[in-house]
Amino acid sequence: MATHVFDTMGTGASIRFAGDLPPAEALTAVETCFAEFDAQFSLYRSDSEISEIARGALTLPLASERFRDLYAEALHWRSLTHDSFSPHRPDRVLDLSGLVKAKAMDAAAAGLSAADVHDWMLNVGGDLLVDGNLEGSPWHVAVVDPDDRCHLLCTFDLDGSRTSLATSGTTERGEHIWRSRATSTYRQVSVVADDIVTADVLATAILAGGRERLDEAVETFGVDVIAVDADGSIVATERMHRAHGFAL
């Protein structure tokens, strides 16, 4: 197994390949993909398109097509999650960061596929997207223990159509999720899905919206969920009951 590590979007990223590292161009293309999304959508960069929007220097109708498409997609998810996921911050700043990382991961994956690079695992700041397998075995992954980041909560395989695992929580960057209501006491939510955008958005929505959003996400999107409540209690969907480290 070979690993390529890089820094992007204010966090650490790594791609682990089942075999040798692919040609350098393929790795550069992945990093460029993230850099482009970051340059356009980061509120931490004063020269990004979204910062111009935030300042009022640019209005939405004049924004680029990619910007408007991503905003439209964010609004679509907002509707699907009954406002638990939203691109609108309470202070009225438009913030697409809840979607940008996953979209960049998706685009990077498409780039690797197009370059005929297979059997890899991409981890960006704790969100995972896998392709293929590791020498015939499924990729084996873990969810970190929110009480002790040196320990794992559970481990399981990402196999079949389940390529994506995203976790949202209040542990690493503080309360970086703006909770829409006081209904949720979850402090870490992990979602396993068939694509990284769905996994990431729903993890955020469930963390913000609580049990109601969890049940709805399972029913509507068929995802698997592991949620850790404020008191340390854990709920998990049936498939996750079999994860190593859990007992009913």
Binding site: G12, R16, E212, I234, F246
Partner: protein, 182 residues
């Protein structure tokens, strides 16, 4: 008459369950759990009741014979005939269905009928630890931790956690795995 009453009793239980089931699904899609008990949306209850075939409170004369309506008495928690003398053409009362075992757990519903219309449906048996009613679609169940898993002992290639900063990555389990090439 006795036989007819028994048949009606069975039919109404079935219909009540069907209504409850449908309402449960609808509630899950729109509001989720917990609210079902407090205010299960009376208007949608009436609509569901109306569209679910052969509601127990059908307004046709044949189905609203006071004696027939009163017959499911074994499972009735309030005197269903209370309003009957005043309004013999329409049924009022609270009817409780039998408990049915499903893959989501046991289900039992209670239907409040007022003048032939269902005004309230309450899930009685679908409860979580707090005794709040829970929706039928509720599939995530509590799990316990069977052991503390050390990262080193678990042969994983990736670790998912809440988004960390670049600095925090350096001390994360993922960084350890990446550096070790495990």
């Amino acid at each position: 008459m006795r036989r007819r009453a028994v048949v009606w009793s069975v039919l109404s239980s079935g219909a009540i369950l069907a209504v409850g089931w449908q309402l449960g699904a609808e509630t899950a899609a729109t509001t989720g759990l917990a609210e079902t008990q407090a205010a299960p949306d009376a208007s949608s209850a009436s609509v569901s009741g109306g569209s679910a075939a052969t509601t127990p409170s059908a307004t046709t004369p044949s189905a609203t014979t006071p004696s027939a309506a009163a017959t499911p008495a074994p499972t009735t928690s309030e005197a269903p005939a209370a309003a009957a003398p005043a309004a013999p053409a329409a049924v009022s009362g609270t009817f409780t269905g039998t408990s049915v075992s499903t893959r989501y757990g046991s289900v039992q519903v209670q239907v409040v009928v007022s003048n032939g219309s269902i005004t309230d449906v309450v899930a009685l048996k679908l409860t979580n630890d707090d005794n709040r009613s829970v929706s039928i679609s509720n599939r995530a169940a509590p799990v316990l931790r069977s052991e503390v898993l050390a990262a080193q002992s678990a042969k994983v290639q990736g670790v998912s956690g809440a988004t960390y900063t670049s600095d925090a990555y350096l001390t994360s389990l993922q960084a350890a795995l990446d550096q070790a090439g495990l």
